[in-house]
Amino acid sequence: MSSMTPMAGDFLSLLASQKLSPVRTEMLSSGGPVQTQATTVFAFHFADGVIMAGDRRATAGNLIVTDKVDKIIEIDSTSLLAIAGVPATAFEMARVLQTSFEYYRRSQLQHLSLPAKVRAMARLLRENLSMTIQGIGVVAPLFAGLDQSVTPAKPQIYFYDPLGAHFETVDHATSGSGSGTIRSIMSFQEHYGNPKPSQMSLAEAVRFSLRLLMTAAEFDSATGGVNPGTHTFATIRVLRSTGIEIITSEQQAEYLARNTPAS
């Protein structure tokens, strides 16, 4: 039988014991290849929990690579990650987190706490420091998870800087090239809107999210946006105290078609 990992339940220790590396940290001496990047992702508290949404475009320079990327990733049954930055690094980080959280849960027979999950993401960002400094592997994700130390479990949102600093947000968080545009709108809505995002129903929150992405796409060519005419919608997940729900394209179309203004 294999020996115990140096730190019980730690998947990265298991990989290290088998001389496998989860992230690439080599220093490059000259300019690297053109990276696929740019995004608009955000999360905010609404009446039932947290909604996390993102556009589906990936770009490389001025080229659109695809409009079918899912940037909101279900890490486990109580955690969501919104990735912004270089997909090659960000998707690998998501995969490391997915395996790590499930590995811990199965091997230790208990869930990893929310603070530990938040720090696990920070640890990956810190280990990506050399790529971040070189400017070719920058990732600035958002994380939403359930705090199960309270009853009922409470959804919370965290945002990171590319070096791994993490902060909890009380209302909303945004990331990606289109985030500047919608951050102002979300802040305005939070202060003067009726309803405020935190008071919105699911239908209102989904409609608000889709309109935010449409606005971001108007000002940021690297954000794919939403176009009901071509059945192009966003990736939207909802985190409630009971777990995660996927808001499908069909549901998004239905909520958007209901012609009641969000505010």
């Binding site: 039988m1 998947f11 395996t99 499930e102 199965r106 091997s107 027979l109």
Partner: protein, 247 residues
């Protein structure tokens, strides 16, 4: 001189006897393939017997808790490393048992200066389609048998194990409901721990029903369901008797 062949054979035979003696009194465990998933059942006195290994894989075993733990951990390590370096779809029970667990159990059993594993277990792999599931009955000496449907029982006495398995095979079919399957399995569990005779002299159904209910009084019935219909990657769902309306 342990190098002499006849002494080695004698030592291995002694170990077999020793392991079987140590496993006597262990609480039997079972797994059944149903239409929508695989049901696993164990009855313990505080130590867990049923475990999730990976997205579509689970284990149920009896024996020394430390040995079950070592095997469980080894299987989880191997499955997650495989899933991360290749893909979750590449994790297979056939490879996990055939190339990992079985050789190690055999090695420990036959290396007479090593402690043998005091375990008997069943490992389960859920497939997307009915009929392609896999149940592996893994023994303490590393030998194992594969089965793609029906019921598998692991008990400390091989004759009783075979008889209980045959009895359950005749009662549990893919269309059997979870509740019915659990009811039959608990009746078989009670007959095994009480050393009841199988065949025509088996206690009546009311006797078996009241028997398992009184026998599990101070114990924990552990149930797990590998769900074929779940949309999530992790198909393992713990169940309780109250979930099924059996208490």
């Amino acid at each position: 001189m342990t190098e002499e062949p006849y002494r080695w054979l004698e030592a291995v035979a002694n170990r077999r006897e020793y392991v079987r003696d140590q496993l006597k009194g262990g609480s039997p465990v079972m797994a059944a393939v149903l239409k929508d998933g695989i049901l696993l059942l164990g009855v313990g006195g505080g130590q867990s017997k049923v475990f999730e290994l990976f997205d579509r894989h689970a284990l149920v075993g009896l024996g020394h808790p430390a040995d079950i733990e070592k095997i469980r951990q080894a299987a989880i390590d191997a499955a997650h490393t495989e899933a991360f370096t290749r893909a979750p779809e590449d994790v297979s029970l056939r490879r996990l048992v055939g190339f990992g667990l079985s050789p190690q159990l055999k090695n420990n059993f036959e290396q007479i200066y090593n402690a043998p594993f005091l375990v008997e277990m069943i490992l389960a792999e859920l497939a997307n389609e009915e009929g392609k599931d896999l149940l592996v009955r893994l023994h303490f000496d590393g030998s194992f048998q594969n089965q793609h449907s029906g019921v598998v029982v692991a008990a400390s006495q091989s004759t009783a194990e075979t008889e209980a398995q045959s009895w359950l095979q005749s009662l549990i079919h893919p269309q059997t409901s979870q509740v019915e399957a659990v009811e039959w399995m608990l009746q078989a569990w009670w007959c095994l721990i009480e050393n009841k005779p199988w065949g025509g002299e088996l206690p009546s159904e009311p006797e078996r029903q009241s028997g398992w209910r009184s026998a599990v009084g101070s114990k924990t019935v552990e149930l797990a369901w590998l769900s074929r219909t779940s949309k999530r990657a992790a198909r393992y769902e713990p169940l309780t008797l109250s979930d099924l309306g059996l208490v």
